[in-house]
Symmetry: C2
Subunit: 190 residues, 2 copies
């Protein structure tokens, strides 16, 4: 457990635990965003992965974009965001299907081959790690592209779901800035 104090404090003071074990952080992470906190998050990711070999940051729309671009600003590396719909102007696509448990639908995610190339070493950033199915979708896109994954950074991890195990078992490095161990009885536990 290696929580980023600034983020942990903010989750404890402003996060809400809704019925059904839902963590609501939409006042500072995924609807309204605190740019100073995001920049601190970006710098913390940069620090944690400073010894990793990566040339590009990859995230997925929409909530992953802010922490990923903050890390990009901190490290001066390009950021690619994977899309949840095929844009009309995109050719030469990589794509796969990911199940969204929150919305209970299948989502096709895609990225252009132009920006995920065989010689890329990507670092994947997202807002949440829960079951790890989005992360698996990005691994599939990276496999299609033939590029390497240097690691995964998550703003918030729900350690009581099996996303981390899945990624660690796959041989990937995982860094989470806040590890939530339980969301029960409207209480957020670290």
């Amino acid at each position: 457990m290696n929580n980023f104090p600034l983020l942990k404090d903010r989750i404890l003071s402003e996060g809400k635990c809704l019925d059904g074990g839902i963590l609501k952080v939409d006042g500072f992470i995924n609807h309204q965003m605190d740019p100073d906190l995001m920049m601190a998050i970006g710098k913390e990711f940069a620090e944690r992965f400073k010894d990793s070999d990566y040339n590009k940051i990859v995230t997925i729309e929409a909530s992953g974009i802010a922490p990923a671009i903050a890390m990009g600003i901190a490290t001066h590396r390009p950021v690619v965001f994977v899309k949840k719909k095929k844009p009309s102007t995109m050719q030469n696509m990589l794509s796969t299907v990911v199940h969204s448990f929150t919305k209970n639908i299948d989502v096709t995610i895609c990225a252009s081959k132009e920006f995920l190339q065989p010689d890329d070493h990507i670092l994947v950033i997202d807002d949440f790690l829960a079951r790890g199915n989005t992360a698996q979708g990005i691994i599939e896109l990276a496999n299609q592209a033939g590029c390497k994954i240097a690691g995964f950074g998550f703003v918030i991890e729900k350690t009581f779901q099996n996303g981390r195990k899945l990624l660690i078992d796959g041989g990937y490095r995982v860094e989470s800035l806040a590890q939530i161990t339980a969301l029960e009885g409207n209480k957020i536990s670290f």
Copy 2:
């Protein structure tokens, strides 16, 4: 015409004009993003609106998030991103329907009342201004919330479409960092 030189040069060197007058900037703006350029864009918006009275930046997912968060980092103001789907955890929603000409579909856009309040003065940031229909959707959300709009900032404007006229006629200030006057015969004109 007051183009931001760094952006104009980048569009001229890396932008592509596709058939049908589509400007492709997905190598540095809306799929792969250059964080250093985004930060420069954020600072340029901050400078252009330095005399405006606003307490919050509002954008729309997904491509608006990077320039908006960069401006938020530059100005230390919170950033709200309007969503294109109703999240399961959102209550007390503001919502309206916007037509997407690119995809030829109607999209419901929404934001929580919690983050657009009557005493907010918002500055709206987005990647593109073309016909201005997304901007009109955000005006509608602001009207529902009862909050004021201090102005609109766009990374790229297509001056040959009528978005600017619509916003100016509505009494809004509009700043665009790159004004594209024509996209014809695979040529990008400023």
